[in-house]
Each structure stands twice: as C-alpha cells, then as structure tokens.
Amino acid sequence: MRVKECVAMILAGGQGSRLGVLTNTLAKPAVFFGGKYRLIDFSLSNCYNSGFDTVGVLTQYQPLELHSYIGIGSPWDLDRRTGGVFILPPFVQATGGEWYKGTANSIYQNAGFIDQYFPEYVLVLSGDHIYKMDYSLMLKFHKETQADATIAVVEVPWKEASRFGIMDTSPDGRIVEFAEKPANPKNNLASMGVYIFSWEILKSYLDSDDKNAASSHDFGKNVIPAMLNDGRKMMAYAFDGYWKDVGTIESLWEANMDLLSDKPQLDLYNKQEKVYSVNPTSPPQLIAASGKVKCSLISVGCLIFGEVENSVLFSGIQIGPGAVVKNSVIMPRAKIGAGVHIEKAIIGPRAVIEDGCRVGCDKSQADDEDKITVIGQQVLVSAGTIVPNGAVVDQPIMPLSRFTEGGAE
C-alpha cells in the first residue's frame, strides 16, 4: 500500500504580475534568484530536507519553463518509486473541467491525486517564497496540538504588516482572527502561506467552498476564515528564520542583495541542508587578470574581465574588459560588453548589453535615483546605448536612441 502520512502541494500557478517583464514568459516560481536558483527550488528543497517525498506542483500560468525545469524531480531527489514530484496543471474532465479558480480550488480539483496516498495531513505551500524550513517540525507541532489546521507565521516589521495575511493569536498560539492585508493590523505575525491541514477536514471545507458561488476559492480569503468561523482548532506555528515573498522588482532585488551582507540570514552554504537546483554543466568561473570582484556572488561558467561589486551573477555570464557592474543582479548567460557601466539593475537571462552602454547610471528625472533598471530576457541593448535609471526594457533598443521611461513597453 502506498500510504503517505502527509502529501505536500505546492501552489505554483501564479503570474507574479508585479515582476513585470521578468514574468512575461514564465511563472513566478520559475524566476531566478540568488546566483543559481529559481524560487521554487526553496520549497522543493525544503520538502526533500524535511523528508517529504510526495509533492504535487500545481501550475497554470506560463508553465513550459517551470515544467521543463522540474522534470521528473531528480535534482531534489524527488524521482521516486512511490511518490515523488507530480506536476498538476488544470485538466479537462468528462463533463466540463476548468482553470484553477483560486488556490483552494486548485487543491480541490486535485483531491483525487491526494487521495491516492490516503494521507492524514496535507501540507500546502507557495512555490515562490524564499526560506529554509523544516516542515517535519511543523507537522510534529500540528500533531501535538491536535490542530485542524496549522499556519506558519513569521514576524514582519509593523509598518509592512498591512501587506500580509495577519494572524491574531491567543497566548497559547491559537489563532483567533485572520485578516488578509488589514489596513490597521492588530499584530505583526504574518502568514507565510505554509499550511498543514488534516485532510479529511480540509476536504469537507473545500467541498462546501466549491459550492459557494460567491467565494473566490482562496485559502486566505475564504477557507481559513470559514474554518475560524466554525471554531476549528487553528494553530499558529512560529518560524524565526529568513522568509521573503518577492512580489515586486524591488523586493526581488533586495532579496538578492540580502545575500551579500556580512552574515546573511539565509545560509546557502550549510552542507547539511543544501538548497538543490538544476545544475548547469559549466566549468568554474574564471576571474581574469584584469577582473576585480568584491562583495558578490558569482556562479559557474562566468568569465570576468571587468569589475563586479556588490552584485549577484548567475551562470555563464561574460563581463567584458573595463566593464563595471555594481549593485546589480545578472541572470544566466547574459553578455556584458567592454566598458559597459551597470548600476542597480536587473539584467534578464541571455540579455546582451553591447560595448559602451550605460545602464542605470543616469537620471532622467530627479526622483529616479533609487529606482531599479530592468532589462528583460534576451533583450539586445546595442552598443553605446544609455538606459536611464528606473527604465524597464523588454525589446531591443537601437543604437543612440535615447531611451525614455516606459517608451519601449
């Protein structure tokens, strides 16, 4: 019998529309992060490191890149004889069939997948958060407290609390109120989007949620409040490590920069609990005699002739002689030409910045100082082009055409 105590379900269908050009052709969980990862590596690696070997990944928006990335799950040791990783896109049924209408609905539509394993519990995760967490400890907590649902929470700064789903808890950790993005938060314990449910109970709620035409079929908005209303035992499980939801260009950039601090909260160098990912077949990076590197993360296959400071470089990137890259994130296989100057920018995968360009070094308006400049995937920026601060480029720019913000959209 293939019985699994707990099945993990990763919600990976989101677009991440606030990431703009970075998610034009890929789902948010496939966005690059931290020199070699994609966001979904964290939840998949957490599953593996926590001993969860049966994982469903629910996909919907632009799934091609995500599907081919996950494959049969071998990088996370999830190619298993029983269990393993399963990609679960929406499907057509004998009568009807439809898109996933919301997070809760996507689980509801895949109840059949979960039931195959007769699990007692279901772990529901988001595929686009950055954190390292041992879910087995949370499951233990869930069992010990005999909760119907356990929600992982993390303390967030008070001023940001209104961006999150906020829990109000009693002293024993029981959740008394849940407010999705409250204007005046009563607490600063934010939901991490990590839930453990007792499956039978969740199933009944998903059932009734599906029948409710007024519902938006969302865990945070509908299912959790409904369970609270019924007085179900819902516990908050406090997590005190690094956790980040990179919803915007700014937060993606920040999360990358977080890794460059002296003692980053997110430890990627712990050999006992690695973050796994698909490894490119590339030789070690070569820092040439003319190269200078400082306060940076650099990955395999990079060839550095220029200067890199306070930046995160993914695999297979070339930095030409005389080029200067500062406070930037450069995604896989981008080519940066000679004498290029880049500051506070995100350069998309396989973008080409030809010789002599300046990216993010020039203000076009007084308040552009702190804005992040973004060059999209595979964009060609021709030699000598000046891309001002805060510009977002997602199509090739012709030489010498002075780029104005929003103009190329």
């Binding site: 931290g34 020199g35 070699k36 071998s74 990088p75 002296d262 990627l268 160098y269 050999k271 690695k274 973050v275 796994y276 990912s277 490894n279 077949t281 590339s282 030789p283 070690p284 990076q285 070569l286 820092i287 040439a288 005699a289 003319s290 190269g291 200078k292 590197v293 400082k294 306060c295 940076s296 993360l297 650099i298 990955s299 395999v300 060839l303 995160v312 470089l313 993914f314």
Partner: protein, 374 residues
C-alpha cells in the same frame, strides 16, 4: 558512433603523481576546480555519441565508483548499454601477485566485450585531457579501411613543452603509422600519442588472445607497436589543446593552463560540455576584503582573502588576510586567517591554520596530502 564501444583503460602510470594518487587512481584525481580526470575522456565519448562505456579499473577504485555511481551525470544510466565498471581479476588482490599488464585484465573481461553489440572499439586512457568529437577520427578510420587508428597530437618542439613517458608516433604522407614507441625519458614535442585507439572489436579480441597466449600483456607495446607491419595502422592528428597528466609538474601546469580564457573555453566547451558529479553548492561568495585575480573559482567557495593565479575547488574557504598565490586548493579545504601559500597544491579537506607560511619554489610544487591539518 552508435556502433562504437568505449573502453577507458585505467592501466596508467601513476609513479610521478604519488602524493595525489596514493589514495585514489589517477582517473579520480580532482582537476580544474570541479572535475575528476576521468570526466574528460568520458564526456568526450558521450558527446561523440558513444552510449556504451566500460571502465577497466586497476586498483583503489572506491573513490572512482563514488564519483561515477550510476553514470547518470554522463547520461550513461541507461536501460540498454550505459556505464560498466570492469574490476581487475581476483588474484590482483592477493599478496605477491605480479602485475602483468592491461591485456591480462582485458582478457578477464571477454564476457563484456563479447556481449556488447558494437562492432568497433575506442580504447583510451583517462590521463590525457582534451575536448574532442571522435566522430571525425572514426570516419577517418573507416575511410582508410584501417585496422587500427592511433590518435595523436602534433606538439611543437619547445623547451617549455615537457612530456614524460609519452607515446611518440611517426606517420607517412598517407597517414600510415611507420613507427611508434613509448619514450622512457622526457621529450619536448613531436607527434604525441593520445593513448587512444580505434579498431574493430574483433581485432581487439584477436590481439588480446594473441598476446596473452604468448605471455604478453601490454596492449600498446606488444599488441600494437610490435604489429605495425602486420596490421594497417593509421594515425589521426588531433588539432586542439591537449594536456598529458602524468607528473605533479604536468598536473600543476595543466591546471594553470586553464587560467588562459582560450584554453578554458576550449577544454570545457569546444565539442561539448564536460560533465561531472554535481554537488549542489551555492554560488561562490566573494566578501568585502576579497581580492581575486587571474584565478578559477568553483561554486560553494567563500573567499575573504587574496587569491592570485590559482585554482580553487568547490567548497573552499579562504579566510581574512590569507594569501594564495600560484596554488591549487582542492575541495573543502580551509585556509586560515593570514596564512600565506605559494606554489602549493592542497589536496581535499586540507586545513591550513592561521598565520602559517608555506612557500615553495615554482619548480618544486609542495603537495599537502588529503585531510592534513597544517
């Protein structure tokens, strides 16, 4: 190349590499920041379309098997064909047994040879590094209707080129090998054999039988060189970069060659990528005080000190104030605060404690053996 069986012959001379081959075969010696020597020939075979590879292992091959495991990283974990480790005959393990040669070993693996479906064999050593698609050489072999094709590289004669125990071939204008020998001393160039031969499986079986039945056990010397007039032996000249790793000096030089971006690109990419076992290390982390130049650095390193003209393997830590110059630091080694290393090879898991000074001459590379704490 589907009709070619790959055999990697690990009966290689390791005498001049003792410090780094005491605990492992030459094929499993770490190289180039994240690889093992065997990755190059194995990847070349796979990239050329060979899907059945047998590895004739000699001794102490635990670390090699740990590296290769199922062969998945080379796409050789297959239902049909794939990767096969061919262990030595039993008596090799007995005390007082005399080592005879590679053919004795091959003779013990006739089952593997007979069972493989391929008609041709590419039999090659691991310790000569190059990036090559064997397809062209195989076509040459077929076009010439050769019995045996010997691969070689024409190296310019220069005092800086030093090859010890090299196979040297002479060919006529048609490409036919007229002479071949294994030099006992040092040479400075010429047509250096890659110790890779293409022949039909039938011929390899015949040579094996002919030799073993006459008390001869050396494939190159007794199987091929002695038979140059008997068989049609042709030479195929390879044009790219080649490094022959059979001494500490040659090992060191070949690593340093990788600091030349042209060679770096060619050896790792030219006809296909070089595969190796993945370690899932995070990106290399250069801290505030890092000063790195002309160096190759692998993932998983945390660099706080100064690294010049060096090769740094996966997971190495270089602490604040440390200076590494002209060194090879193998995986998971740790260099303490303010330690100074020059012309040193640190094998795996070496720990250099704070403030140590290990400075050697560039003509005599100091080797610190695996796991030592200095």
């Amino acid at each position: 190349m589907k009709d070619v069986l790959g055999i990697i012959n690990l009966h290689e001379n390791e005498e001049l590499l003792r410090e780094i081959t005491r605990l492992r075969p030459l094929a499993a010696v770490p190289f180039g920041g994240r690889y093992r020597i065997i990755d190059f020939i194995l990847s070349n075979m796979v990239n050329s379309g060979i899907s059945n590879v047998g590895i004739v292992v000699k001794q102490q091959y635990r670390s090699l098997m740990d590296h290769l495991r199922s062969g998945k990283e080379w796409d050789l974990a297959r239902k049909r064909d794939g990767l096969f480790i061919l262990p030595p005959p039993d008596h090799v393990h007995y005390a007082n047994s005399i080592y005879k040669g590679d053919l004795e070993h091959l003779h013990n693996q006739l089952d593997f040879l007979n069972r493989s479906s391929q008609q041709y064999v590419l039999i090659a050593s691991s310790h000569i590094l190059y990036n090559m698609d064997f397809g062209e050489a195989f076509q040459f072999h077929l076009d010439k209707e050769a019995d045996i094709t010997v691969l070689y590289k024409d190296e310019p004669v220069s005092p800086e080129n030093r090859f010890s125990l090299a196979t040297v071939v002479a060919v006529n204008s048609d490409g036919r090998v007229t002479d071949m020998g294994i030099k006992t001393g040092r040479i400075h160039g010429g047509k250096i054999g890659l110790e890779a031969f293409i022949m039909s499986k039938k011929l390899l079986l015949q040579i094996t039988e002919d030799c073993v039945s006459r008390g001869e056990f050396d494939l190159a010397k007794e199987g091929i060189i002695k038979n140059l007039s008997r068989y049609k032996v042709y030479g195929f000249g390879f044009k790219g970069y080649m490094a022959k790793i059979n001494s500490i000096q040659a090992y060191y030089q070949a690593n340093m060659d990788l600091l030349n971006p042209g060679i770096w690109y060619e050896l790792f990419n030219k006809s296909g990528p070089i595969y190796t076992k993945v370690k899932d290390e995070a990106a290399a982390n250069y801290r505030e005080d890092a000063a790195v130049s002309n160096s190759m650095v692998a993932n998983g390193c945390v660099i706080e000190g100064q690294v010049v003209n060096s090769i740094v393997f996966r997971g190495v830590r270089v602490h604040r104030g440390a200076v590494i110059k002209n060194c090879i630091i193998m995986q998971n080694s740790e260099i303490g605060n303010n330690a100074v290393l020059e012309n040193v090879i640190c094998d795996k898991d070496v720990k250099i404690t704070a403030d140590k000074r290990l400075i050697s001459d560039k003509n005599y590379i100091m080797v610190i053996e695996k796991g030592m704490v200095v």
